[in-house]
Structures are given as structure tokens and as C-alpha cells.
Amino acid sequence: MTTAQARAAATVTLPMENGTRPLVAFPQKRPLIVLTPRPPQLETPFQIFDEGILTPNDAFYVRWHLSGIPATVNGATHRIRVDGLVKHPMNLSIEDLRTKFPQVEVVAVNECSGNSRGLFSPRVAGGQWDNGAMGNARWTGVRLSDILAKAGLRDGVRQIRFSGLEKPPLPATPAFVKALSIEDVIDNGDILVAYEMNGAPLPLLNGYPVRLVVPGWYGTYWMKMLDNLEAIDTIDDNFWMKTAYRIPETPGNTVKPTDTGYKTVPINKLTVRSFVTNVQDGGRLRAGPRTIRGIAFDGGSGIKAVQFSSDGGQTWHNATLGEDYGRYSFRRWQIAFTAQRAKTYELACRAVANSGETQTTVPVWNPSGYLRNVIETYKVSVS
């Protein structure tokens, strides 16, 4: 695209200061909301979530940290090195994954840790996403636990550390490396090394040819272009674990902007959230009966109920839940609603997870802009 074309490209304006963004089609992608072109960070336009429970691969959000992203990846020669404190180090090809292990499918939400950061008040620095840095896909691959069982963990392993082909632009920049504690890996038997997304190879920008899928956990752990799984007997203290992607270890993981000195822990499970997908905040409705519908998800316990309010949260009504795609998936919901002529409404939805967790009435605040799960409200007027 030339500069002149880019200037003429469609834009969208997200509900935040400096919220105007171009819509650009990156390779293997339809036009998405460009947060940053290099490294690419692309947001899914929210109306996509109304179209189906699975987010199409070409509409799935994209988030890279470092500009050293390979533009060419050979899926045939790509290998995942399994090493560290294992009895049988391995170099696994995609073919190995497809032929030497049980094949597993899971439908799971991948949500960026910083999803909705642009809606924080007061604002915080960082990637200024609206609510579209998330997606729900059917992932196919091999259980991480099956790979580790084949490799044979030695005694004393405390974490599995992993990396991908994303490389720092400068030699001194910390390489993007993440780790999961062995308890969490054992506890979450659904962590996959996935080579398929919605029945097709992953788009390169979503991690072709293989990425980690950590159902119920934030996207920072879903390593793209996975090339190393390393068993270690320490707690990884690299920048991306020790400094970045930390949440306050306070009740509700929320603090005041003036607070200091509190402990932090690595970000982990998704907070429970729900959204209306077929009505926009500030929108107009036609008078008469209609269906309000949306999505809900949480950090892996599954959605127990979604409630809907048309009076700003004073009274709540149970919505009908849609088909269950598993406890890590978006769950669709819907409810009948009759809009009266010339009235205004404040619609709201709140989800309750099987874990008992629900959404907050006051937005959480933390300096990195993580975990937002306030009850969403949608002011609408009726024509």
C-alpha cells in the first residue's frame, strides 16, 4: 500500500482519546484495526463477534512484541526443541506432532492481557486496545503434558520455559520468553501445542506453523511460532516474567494510581466477561420486540449464567445460554427485549462463572491496564 492509499484507507474511531485507527488488510487477514503496523498489532472489529462463536482466522487479532518477526516460515523444516531437564531431548516436527501423539481439539478464547486497556480511567500507557484484542477458535494439536511425558521430566523441574521465532530487533533487547509453573501445566491438562486453528494452518501472524494454546489463560503465554520447550529447575526471571505482565497481588488485583509497594504476580487466568454483540453503546434501536445477544467467557470454569438488564443494572433477567462449546470457549447468550418508542435505555450484561466469579461493578485499575471485566453498559435510544 502506498502512503497515499494508506491516507485514503478507511478508519475507525475507538471510544478513547487518540482512538482513530486505520483499517488495513495484512497478509492472510481481512482489514483489521491497526493499533501499530510494526511490530503488527491488529484488533478485531467488535461486530465480528456477533457473526459466529468462532472467530475466523482472517479476522483474529494479532499482537507481536518485537519487530524481528520472520516473514517466511518453513513448516516442513520447523522443529520444536524439547530440552532442559528431560531424559529424552527431542526435536519435534509438525509431522511428528500429527503422527506420534494423540490429537486433541479444544475451543478456547485467546484474550490479550492488555485487552480493553484503552478504556482504563485514568488512562495507562501501553497498547491502547478497545475490546477486540481477543478471539475464540477451535485449536487442534497435541497436549503439552503428552510431549513432556514422552520427553520424561527429570526430578526437580519447576517450570516449563518456552520461546518462538520472534526475535528482538537489537541483540540486547530481551528475547520474548515465557514460562509456566509445572503445577499449572499439570493442573491444566488442556494446554496444547497447536498446529491448526479452526481446521486450517495458523495464519503466519497468529504463529504459523505451531503455537502454544493455554486455555483459560491470557494470550501472553500462547507462544507463537513455538520453537523451544525447556524444563528448568528454577523460576524464570527474564524480563517478560519478572518485570512485564505482572498484576497486583491485592484483593481483586486492583490498586489506586497512588498506591506503591504492593506485591505482584505474573498475570494468569482470564477474568470473567460478557458483552452484547448486536447493539452498540450510543446506538439507536427501532421500537418493538427484538433479540439482544452476546458472548461470555471466563478463565476456564465455564459460564454458569448471563444476566441482562435494561435499566442500568437495577433489575436483572436471566438470558438463555447458547450451545456449549466447552468451558474455555465463548458462550453465546440471548434474551428477548421490547424497546418502547421514544425511550432511552441503559442495557447491561453480567456473567457468572461456574467458579462463582462474576463481573465487577467498578472497573479494576492497575498500572499495566490488565484484567478489565467491569459490567458493560450500552446506552441506546429508541426511534
Binding site: E17, R21, V24, P37, V73, A125, Y208
Partner: protein
Amino acid sequence: MKGTLLRFLTLASAVAVLGATYGTVSIKFPTFNVPFKPGPGQDVTIANCRTCHSAAYVYTQPPLTKAQWTAEVIKMRNAYKAPIADADVPTIADYLVTQNGKQ
């Protein structure tokens, strides 16, 4: 109509073949970019910042104070090891305030 259908079938089978194998995938990143706009300190900012990221990292932030922009520049140096000279830190921070700042 027939041509369209044929093209569709050809495309569908090509996708099916690709779907069954894991070969080489090459993409060409769009030349679309967000540049650092003219202003005092633009050259120093480009020289120090563009190696790693586009100017969209600046213009999509909420407006920040000079102290906040300075903290961001220092973070780029300390956390991400951008080789920014001491003398360039205030120059870059001042430029960022002119681009997306507040009092």
C-alpha cells in the same frame, strides 16, 4: 459465472492442498506505516526509536506529560536496551510532548 465457479474451485483445491501440508509460508508486510511527524527533535527520535517500532506507538497513547514521556523513553532504554544517549533523552521527550503531550 462459469469462470467464477472454476476460479472458486481452483482456489478451494489450492487451499485444501495447503491445508494438508506444512510448507513454506511467506508474507510481505504492508508498506503501510505510521511516520514520526515533523517537529523539533524529529531526527533524533527517528534515529533512536524507529529501529524497533513505528510511530503509532506514540500517537495511539493517551496524551502524556513530559515526566510520563521521559519515563517511557527511560523504559525503552532500561527495559528494552535501546541505546539512547543521555543527551537524547530530553530531546526525545520534548519532541514526544509536542506530538502527543499534555501539561
